[in-house]
């Protein structure tokens, strides 16, 4: 059974022979495990018996060790998966009706309109179960077919949920009406008796009463209200040798033909009156039957009189005869209860059913080994909690969906259990959701079900959501990576790279799981950074308001510059710039990260202009990094180094005197720091970029700048009036 039956498994290959545990232990071995967060599975492995520092294993255990992955639930496949997926839609509809009506009080919830809606939804479940039954049966007849459960399992669910609907969700939402016909309908639909084959066989006989099946068939057909069959075979008795039987059979036909059924009457009063009168006619026929002489009561094959007497007894409404006959034909308690409202008490109400069932069960108990039979008995007695407990043993799908239907129609109290912190309904729905987790591909449904179970369910859903692989390069290596990896680039371009993340985001948003959504975004940003998808990474960091993470992304971007130079860096920053610009307009505690981000962008702008040949503006950009104090100290060396070409041009003077003085001051600060042994703070990155051995080497590279600055400064003094201000001047 799905996930709720105690069961066992012997792993293959075994580690010790049956009954040889002691030897296994003597070899210093035990077993251990770890649970998988992905699904209801775990890995088992042989582990040392002793765990001390000097752990040394007996020599004979130091051989190759296997690891055994196993699952405690079989993930749903085929028809099972179809049922799960299809019925989740109905479940959602149920919840939405419930949510709409719950604030309006129990009376509105149980209004005939709502009850009719719930009946409709229950009928949808029933239809899907019927489909699954057919589907599984077909699969079973196909040699390649391997249904998750056999047809019988779904038949059982189908029958049980149909009974629940019949009992608790009446047609048109009207409860207080006689229930006899509906129960008989349910019985005749799901437990077909007498069999059609028997009927066919008997009808082919010239003298059917000579067959031993004849009277049981006729009796059961009558009990079941299959009056066409009854009448057909009663008529066949017109050629019976006993004239008494011929006459009485004829009278029975007349009686049965006029059997009043509820559906034929517009009011209950008319129906009851007609039923009473009809029973009086049956009692009159009894007088006639009693007058048949003893010697004409047996036709040599059977005592026909006793059989006719039984049939007539049922028509008269005699409970003890109905009970005896039903047991004799192998019908059991269900047959008695479901025909009771047709033959014994036509006014039988749903509310009276538990009494009738209780009485019947004390004489004819249910089969304790048959869970389905027990479930039906509990349902008919109105013992909903017991019924759910049995339903859960049959299939936790059934328990969850029935419990969910029970709450809105007031069959289940919604109190929270002190011990578990859960209501009964939530417990069964959580159990089912737990089972759904056996297939990680069903995470959406798992979360949907969990989120109907209060705060506990929602926090459990968080755990599921957090463990949905994001598909961002977290696909393991090997074939998976080869299969999926090649698509990564193109997917990224299509904007589908983050498809799962988007879906998770939407789901979290729908259910108000903001902290979880942020965690997922943080992880996504991290993974995207690794994939160098900086644009998306910044977007997710921003969505998570993870400024520390944003800082890491900027660090990674700057690392790209260090490793690959300006061309690649400019391209990467172009991805990020739109997000960053949006960020600038937002208010939030971003502080230092914003500053670093601004540097990253402005530094990229500088390189962009420089690469495009717009050196005048590039120079301004470069100087502004110092002027606006955007450049972090660790980058001063790099920015200073970048300034050298702008000072060496023989044709253009790009920098103002102020700019030159600023550069000089910064250079002095770097040199001073280096002298004081703090050069790393300013020059480490330059060391990496120039691929020189030490900070000292990097500093010596800046000597070129010092010289260039000196020359530029000297020249500038000569033409001071013409290059004041911040614009560059052309040398004539």
């Amino acid at each position: 059974m799905p996930g709720n039956e105690a069961n066992s498994l012997n792993l293959l290959p075994p580690l010790f022979e049956a009954g040889n545990l002691e030897e296994f232990q003597q070899a210093g071995q035990s077993v251990s495990l770890t649970l998988s967060p992905r699904s209801n599975s775990f890995a088992t492995f042989a582990t040392p018996l002793k765990t001390d520092a000097n752990t040394r294993v007996a020599q004979d255990s130091a051989y190759d060790q296997d690891i055994y992955p196993a699952s405690w639930d079989k993930p749903p496949t085929g028809e099972r998966r179809t049922l799960i997926t299809d019925t989740s839609v109905i479940f959602a509809a149920c919840r939405s009706v419930f949510e709409r009506a719950k604030d309006e009080g129990p009376d509105v919830m149980r209004s005939s309109e709502n009850l009719a809606t719930f009946r409709k939804l229950a009928s949808d479940y029933v239809l899907h179960l019927q489909d699954s039954w057919v589907h599984a049966t077909q699969l079973m007849s196909n040699p390649d077919g391997n249904p998750h459960f056999d047809g019988e399992h779904y038949r059982s669910l189908y029958v049980s949920l149909s009974l629940f609907r019949t009992l608790y969700l009446p047609e048109d939402g009207v409860e207080d009406v006689p229930v006899g016909d509906e129960l008989l309908d349910w019985l005749n639909t799901h437990f077909i008796e007498p069999s059609t084959e028997d009927g066919d066989q008997l009808s082919s006989l010239e003298h059917p009463w000579e067959d031993e099946l004849f009277w049981p068939y006729l009796t059961r057909a009558t009990v079941r209200g299959l009056l066409k069959s009854s009448i057909f075979f009663l008529r066949s008795l017109s050629s019976h040798p006993s004239e008494n039987l011929q006459r009485i059979a004829d009278r029975l036909v007349g009686l049965l033909e006029k059997h009043p059924r509820q559906i034929q009457f517009s009011t209950e009063r008319e129906f009851f009156t007609a039923s009473r009168r009809w029973k009086d006619r049956a009692k009159a026929l009894r007088l006639e039957l009693d007058r048949v002489p003893e010697d004409d009561r047996n036709d040599g094959y059977e005592n026909w009189w006793e059989n006719v007497s039984d049939i007539l007894g049922i028509l008269e409404g005699r409970e003890e005869i109905l009970e005896r006959v039903c047991v004799a034909v192998g019908g059991g308690w269900k047959e008695i209860v479901c025909t009771y409202g047709v033959w014994i008490d036509v006014g039988l109400r749903r509310s009276e059913l538990p009494d009738v069932v209780g009485r019947t069960l004390s004489n004819v108990p249910p089969d304790p080994t048959d869970a389905e039979d027990s479930l039906h008995a509990e349902l008919m007695q109105g013992r909903t909690k017991h019924a759910l407990a049995i339903a859960a043993k049959i299939d936790n799908w059934l328990a969850a969906h029935v419990a969910d239907l029970m709450v809105p129609i007031g069959l289940l109290d919604t109190e929270i259990d002190d011990i578990t912190g859960l209501s009964i309904r939530d417990t069964y729905v959580l159990n089912y959701a737990d089972y759904l987790h056996s297939d990680p591909g069903l995470w959406r449904l798992t979360v949907d079900y969990l989120c109907t179970c209060g705060d506990i369910g929602k926090e459990m859903a968080d755990q599921i959501l957090l463990r949905v692989p994001l598909g961002l390069g977290d696909l393991p290596s090997g074939r998976n990576r080869q299969e999926h990896g090649e698509n990564l680039e193109s997917e990224a371009e299509d904007g589908d790279l983050s498809g799962t993340v988007k879906e998770l985001n939407a789901t979290c948003f729908d259910y108000g799981r903001e902290p979880t959504r942020r965690t997922i975004c943080r992880i996504a940003a991290r993974k995207l950074t690794k994939l160098k998808k900086y644009g998306l990474a910044v977007a997710y960091s921003r969505s998570a308001e993870d400024w520390l993470g944003l800082g890491h992304i900027i660090d990674s971007l700057m690392e790209e510059y260090i490793l690959h130079g300006p061309l690649r860096y400019v391209q990467l920053i172009a991805d990020v710039t739109p997000s960053l610009q949006e960020l600038r307009t937002e208010i939030g505690p971003r502080g230092v990260f914003m500053h670093r981000m601004m540097f990253a962008v402005r530094y990229a702008e500088f390189h962009q202009r420089n690469v495009q040949g717009d050196r005048e503006n590039a120079a301004l950009d470069l100087i502004s990094l110092f002027e606006e104090e955007l450049a972090p100290r660790s980058w001063w060396g790099v920015v200073l180094y970048d300034a050298i070409p702008f000072l060496q041009s023989e044709h253009h003077k790009y920098l103002s005197m102020d700019a030159v003085r600023l550069l000089l001051r910064r250079l002095e600060e770097v040199s001073l720091a280096a002298k004081q042994g703090c050069g790393e703070d300013y020059l480490t990155i330059l060391t990496q970029i120039l691929k020189v051995g030490s900070v000292k080497d990097a500093l010596s590279q800046l000597d070129t700048l010092r010289l260039a600055l000196a020359r530029y400064y000297a020249w500038s003094i000569l033409i001071t009036p013409r290059i004041s201000g911040r614009t560059s001047v052309k040398v004539i």
Binding site: S8, A53, V57, A62, S71, D434, K530
Partner: protein, 466 residues
Amino acid sequence: MIQTALIRNAHQDLVADAAYDMYGLYLATCGLDQRIKVWSLEESSGTWNLEDEWKAHDAAISKIDWAHAEFGQIIATSSFDRTVRIWEQVQFTQEANGNGGASSSTSSGPNATCRWAERAVLTEAKGSVRAVQFAPHHFGLKLASISTDNLLRIYECLEQPSLTSWQLADEVDVLALPTSAPRTSSLSQSIATTTPTQTSLTLDGTSTTSLTASLLAAQQQQQQSQAPQQNRPGAGVREADGGWCIAWCKDRYWGEVIAVGSGTSGVIRIIQFSPHRRPQTLLALEATGSNSFSSGISNSLGRSGGSRSGAAGLAGGSGFASSKDDDEHNTAYSVTSVAWAPSCGRSFHLIATGSRDGKVRIWKVKPPPPSANSSGFDDQDASMDTLEERWNASLVGEFDDHKTHVGRVEWNITGTVLASSGNDGRVRLWKQTVGGIWRSAGHVSVEQADPSLPGDVDMAENTGVE
């Protein structure tokens, strides 16, 4: 239950520990062969492929744990070589660029595109490091380790991208830690036992401090005197006295709280760390030796656990000394595994323990209601404390099905299924029924199936062996 795969010849010696990553797509295993192996799941076929393997320690590895995915693909291992090591997955191409680590990968398949690199070695332990576990992600990249020197250590990563710099943020001698809370504490501590009349005995931090402290001192003396006399398999002369197991509380609300098992007293201490004060024991979980419940009996135990706890708590400190003393004599075993279930919105915590007395235990631990903490009641109010304002615990399940030492307990991600394993060669699963009773939900065995027993045949048919 079905066997879904088989990883053949995973290690060349017994496997000490294994752990899945956050998504269950990777499985890291480590063994007495001192090696770590990382396996990746091929989702389409359900098979596990070796991604990387390397010699990781100079002695047997004891535990392996994955950090939260928020910090990247990071593994921590603890070992009998007295170190904790931090490992990070790096892309193959990046490794060529020199990420600083010294991967010693040796036999990855041609498909592997990832390698693992050592990032840090934490060497503070003065004994074998028995367990390591990363903190819940909301506390940052931190980990806790417990070693046979009885010290619980908390490390914090100072430089996240590089992972090379780890600071020893806290170091606590588990047995020496007083259970009395500072006077300014807003949380009182309790001691929970399973004695029916003393299930959860709650002491406030002021009036019974001396009593608690002396009891603990007596307890320690007792452990020390008992230890050398022990003659059980696996209980080494000094090793068994040392730290065994740790489990972080997954909840953020209570700050950094860790359940620790140390020594042979059979006690799990729940220790709270705070930046503002010294670590303190919130609660001690102790099962008395005299209680031996079968699965059946413990059902009623589960039902009545909460109420018993309440009654005992209200009884206050009177009568504690004598009854506890008696219990102590009966308790001499190590709790070798502890697992803290994710609380998932419950008003209580579930902590499971596996011990050398052969029992799997499930504790229901109730923290004080949030209001009690946030309102910050002070010592003046302490005498007015009601039970609800303190941490208390009750035993809601006790199972001796393993019969022999229980080596491992672990919760699933929602705290609805507990798994345990023991020297009986079985993995057992435990689930809660609708009424809140914990019951067996099946078992897996490495014993050869007895063909005369029904039920296992079907399982074998489902086995998809690689």
